[in-house]
């Protein structure tokens, strides 16, 4: 009986093929736009996370407790050798690099600018950051104690070119000032104001000598197989590296504004989904009511010959279910096609800056099946649920009244 009613309702759906196709397209377009928006948001999210973690930050950083708040020079990572050994043997850590960070002033023959002096380990840094890839002119750090890399904006501000002399002055751990001379060996372009205008990169050993830190360093940046892992608080690495006075933090804690931005994106999607699904429900209820009113006499006959009210209601809900399925197929085909096309070509936002991140490259929509499955499933479920109201209305009709009013 159930299968027969399913067949019966399928045929009923196609009695007015034009209406079914129009309804299916309306709901399908809604679903496709949701899928596409989800894909676009996923692409933007990936871009924002990549733009946050790839160039410089890494996915997780280890510092001495209190360093991020005070930036005190002497707060170097505790037990550095032990931590580095542990990281070397950690299967979850893809790459890591130590850094020295200190405020300093940088002077050229013409200008003086405040900068963050960054000591970089030229051997391990390329596995973690994009410094080497970001060099526009000149070369990456080779280990020479005289070499320094500046961002292109800082180089412009200081009016220097490759080979020009620069002097860094910084406060050492003994509170005395230390200076050192460098030759500009590379100019980089990260597309980030902070890195391009306020950072100077030198070899870590040179920075350690200048600041009198010995083998100490302030920060270890590491890369995990997937940045999303840094959001997983159940991972053992948090306990392992947040020990001996050190603290391990993921990019969501290091860059909370980006994390909040991603939460906002999720909430936006939720609101948009609620609005679209609401419209879909009203559209389907309207379409089904039209269909029920058109068939009032027939529904009266169905009741007259002994069809139970529940069976009539179920038939209308099944019709809604079929409409939902048809709409979902249309929506999936359109949505996936749109995502597939744009994921190849990308969508350019023309260098706009959003929450401190420049969309310098096109956004490539990407669909995460783990999240996207809910849209087609909700479409079918909600459209099916939308059939309940007209279904109850059809089930409650008095057969004699239905036939009398229809004639």
């Amino acid at each position: 009986m159930f299968l027969r009613m399913l067949k019966f309702s399928w045929r009923n759906v196609w009695r007015n093929a034009r209406r079914t196709v129009i309804t299916g397209l309306a709901v399908g377009f809604g679903l496709a736009s949701l899928l596409f928006t989800e894909g676009l948001m996923q692409g933007m999210t990936d871009h924002m996370v990549d733009a946050t973690t790839d160039p410089w930050m890494g996915d997780v950083q280890i510092h001495r407790e209190g360093f991020l708040d005070t930036r005190q020079l002497e707060l170097t990572v505790n037990r550095p050798g032990e931590v580095m050994d542990s990281l070397s043997g950690d299967s979850l850590v893809q790459a890591f690099t130590p850094r020295i960070l200190s405020p300093a002033s940088l002077s050229s023959a013409r200008e003086l600018k405040p900068v963050t002096l960054i000591g970089v380990d030229g051997r391990s840094d390329p596995g973690v950051t994009m410094l080497r890839a970001a060099i526009d002119t000149g070369s990456y750090l080779s280990g020479d104690s005289m070499e320094i890399i500046l961002g292109h904006r800082l180089a412009e501000d200081l009016e220097v070119e490759l080979g020009d002399v620069l002097v860094i002055t910084a406060a050492g751990t003994d509170s005395g000032l230390a200076s050192s001379m460098f030759l500009l060996s590379g100019i980089c372009n990260f597309g980030s104001e902070q890195l391009d205008r306020y950072s100077a990169f030198v070899n870590i050993r040179t920075a350690g000598d200048l600041l009198d830190l010995g083998d100490g360093f302030h920060e270890i940046a590491m890369v995990l197989p997937d940045p999303e892992l840094a959001r997983d608080t159940s991972l053992s690495l948090w306990d392992r590296y947040s020990a001996h006075g050190n603290s391990a933090l993921g990019w969501t804690d290091l860059s909370p504004q980006i994390s909040s931005m991603l939460d906002l994106v999720n909430i936006s999607m939720l609101i948009m989904s609620a609005i679209l699904f609401g419209l879909v429900i009203f559209g389907i209820v309207n379409s089904l009511f039209m269909s029920v009113y058109e068939r009032m006499f027939e529904l009266g006959i169905m009741k007259a010959v002994g069809t139970r009210p529940g069976t009539i209601g179920a038939m209308v809900v099944m019709e809604a279910f079929w409409l939902g399925l048809i709409s979902t197929v249309i929506g999936l085909v359109l949505g996936i096609l749109l995502i597939w096309i744009t994921s190849g070509t990308g969508i350019s936002f023309g260098e706009i800056e959003f929450s401190g991140i420049t969309f310098s490259r096109p956004i490539y929509p990407d669909i995460d099946p783990g999240r996207a499955w809910m849209y087609p499933v909700f479409t079918i479920l909600l459209v099916g649920l939308a059939g309940i109201f007209p279904g109850i209305h059809a089930a409650r009709q008095n057969p004699a009244e239905s036939m009398r009013r229809s004639l």
Binding site: M1, R4, F8, R11, N12, R15, F297, E298, I301, M302, K303, A304, V305, G306, T307, R308, P309, G310, T311, N398, P399, A400, E401, M403, R404
Partner: protein
Amino acid sequence: MDNDMRDDVIVTEGVEKTYDDSGVPVHAVRGIDYRLSKGEFTAIIGPSGSGKTTFLNLMAGLDTPTEGKVWLSGRLISDMSGRELSDFRRDNIGFIFQAYNLFPVLTVEENVEYIMLLQGVPGKERHDRVMGILEKVGLADLSGRLPLKLSGGQQQRVAVARAMVSDPSLVIADEPTANLDSATSGELLDMMRQLNEDTGMTFLFSTHDEIVMERARKIVVLRDGRIDGNADPKDFQ
């Protein structure tokens, strides 16, 4: 139910139906006492607005009386409601309406078997009974067609087959020839009367059509919601 009712398919006692038409009460049926015996082939006639269809609906359990009682096959149906009444109609009454009788998305065979499907009759038995009744109404070779591909007369034959296939106590036909030409109406009524004679099934019509009246065995005249006596079918021949 008393012993006198045993040979009656339908018994009504003081049945009344009053509609509310925008605040104005309309007395469609005014206290009818009526008995329909097994095997009858009876037509209810009367002018438009006399209450024929309303009275038929009350006897069929399609509507509930404002006052009075209706027994069908010995069961008091005027007190039934919902699922119980649906199941009772399914198992005891066959319906033929004046038009749009059939479900347009079902084939002839599916239309005829529909009630047996509701009754849970097994597939093989359903098929055999459907083909048997379609044979009787002369439409066995059109069993796979959709109703819209049939003539009006053929559609009404399918409706007759559907009404009779589950072997109900009573077949109720509301103006079954209203949309048919005279020749087709005559053929349809002849066929129904033959089935009535062959099976002993009880038929009750409401009609304006003299073709129905001349073939009925009994005629009940309804006027202003009351029975206004009987008419002689010979008067219409």
